[in-house]
Amino acid sequence: MIEPTAEPAVEARGLTKRFGSKLAVGGLDLRIEKGTVFGFIGPNGAGKSTTIRMLMGLLPMNGGDATVMGIDVRQRPEAVRRCVGYVPEQHLIYRWMRVKEVLWFCRQLHEAWNESLARELCQQFELSGQTKVRHLSKGMLAKLALIIALAPEPELLILDEPMAGLDPIIREEFLETVLQSFCRGGRTIFFSTHMLGDIQRLADSVGIIHDGRLLVHGSVADLLSRTKRVRLALERDELPAELPQGVIRTWRNRRECVLTITDCDSQKVQHLEDAAQVRVVEVLDVGLEDIFKDYIKGQREAI
């Protein structure tokens, strides 16, 4: 269980963004405690990057407010960028620069810059200072972006799908570096990715976003322990009239039915068992990937 601190690393209230008539993010509330790893997941176009860009002060918000490391994003977006390390999905680093020039350039722009850490990471990643950025592979570019984000030793690291399209070895190397170099001294990671296995392994808390709305926000351990799949055998071709609270998805195939239930406890299972013409066959634990899929599919099927 994560203990709430006096001042969260990120706090958003009613965060809203519209692109024309399309609502990209609608009234999103978020609180991320300092010193934790937060996993932000959602399908493509759910509003993850838009949320992150608003939190970074890169995109003006249409409603709500947000603070990052205690700094009001609306009032002082530049101050937010000074204390946040950010690795985006697309690494648009100047292609004509050499690696050493990029690092020199970034060092001049940051108040704090740990040169020995930057050198250490360059060595670890076998990144030559003489190489031009345009000649770097996608994986090497992601590593350079990570060095740029880590060297200023920020209090908060925001990773916006930085490992999309990378092979598993580079992904592993990337994550290990983040963990070794960053997760020391109570710093916070805001991690948006489609790699749900990584989130389950690393994150303390998780948020699932769909169509600009936050469906779930809480501790990963809680979510895993309290979400279950209940397999039912039906005596007739219909579901019980009253399903318990917290059913996020119903899957049915003739006389077999699987319910994914959040906050699932023995009372809810008993409730199902008490229903006429229903027999509970088994109660299964669910991984984060299946929970995520059930939330999103459940939402889509409900429409």
């Binding site: 960028r81 648009l92 292609r95 004509w96 001049q108 940051h110 108040e111």
Partner: protein, 234 residues
């Protein structure tokens, strides 16, 4: 801290524009080479009865005055490139999430672009001054007015290209605007010197120059405001 950031940003902006400077010097070398070939291989030697030039000083003085046309074209390219190069290749987005303020980033782009334009104009003026200081002749008043008109044209072309490139998204459209602006401004400069000054005297000429300088200031300010408001391409 701001001085350090500005130094790094200016370094980057000078590098972004370096190809234009290379083009300029290649263009200047070609023009000078062509002028030498024409003078010594095609035209009658200066001073001869049918020669169009009285002296080599006058010939090269006017050649380097014509070089101001190339300086104007480069001014237009520097203006457009400073405002739009990083937006077109999307490296603008990289800078957006680094600490410097948008204001400082734009100031650096403007300062680097304007500084390079002034540098090219100064180089061009130096060539003209050196030619006349080595030779036995002084530039005519007409020629001096011509140089002045070219300098004003270079300023307007820089500023209007900056403003246009800040407002227009497509690099092709920016190129078309510059393609139209450049001959228009050169024509205006010739008209200014040859017609306005020749026929209507100093006051009309100076008024027209002042209007051009004003137009440049307005274009520069508009481009700056639009660029400040434009959402980055991240």
């Amino acid at each position: 801290m701001i001085a350090r950031q500005l130094k790094a940003l200016m370094w980057k902006d000078l590098r972004v524009n370096r190809l234009i400077i290379v083009f300029y010097f290649i263009g200047a070398a070609i023009l000078t080479g062509a002028a030498i070939i024409i003078l010594y291989c095609i035209l009658p030697a200066p001073g001869q009865p049918n020669a169009p030039y009285r002296s080599t000083t006058q010939y090269f003085g006017e050649t380097f005055t014509l070089l101001m046309g190339l300086t104007c074209l480069m001014a237009a390219m520097l203006g457009a490139n400073s405002a739009s190069a990083e937006r077109v290749d999307r490296s603008d987005a990289f800078l957006a999430y680094l600490p410097p303020s948008r204001r400082l980033v734009l100031f650096s782009r403007l300062a680097a672009g304007l500084g390079l334009t002034l540098g090219l104009a100064a180089f061009n003026l130096l060539l003209i001054a050196l030619t006349y200081s080595i030779g036995d002749q002084h530039p005519s008043r007409y020629e001096l007015r011509g140089v002045e008109s070219f300098l004003v044209a270079a300023w307007v072309l820089f500023a209007v290209s900056w403003g246009a490139a800040a407002c227009i998204g497509s690099s092709v459209a920016i190129g078309m605007v510059i393609g139209l602006l450049f001959p228009g401004m050169l024509w205006m400069s010739f008209m200014n010197t040859g017609w306005l000054w020749g026929l209507h005297g100093d006051l009309a000429y100076v008024t027209c120059e002042a209007a051009e300088v004003g137009l440049g200031l307005v274009a520069l300010a508009c481009g700056y405001v639009v660029a400040m408001k434009r959402q980055n391409s991240l």
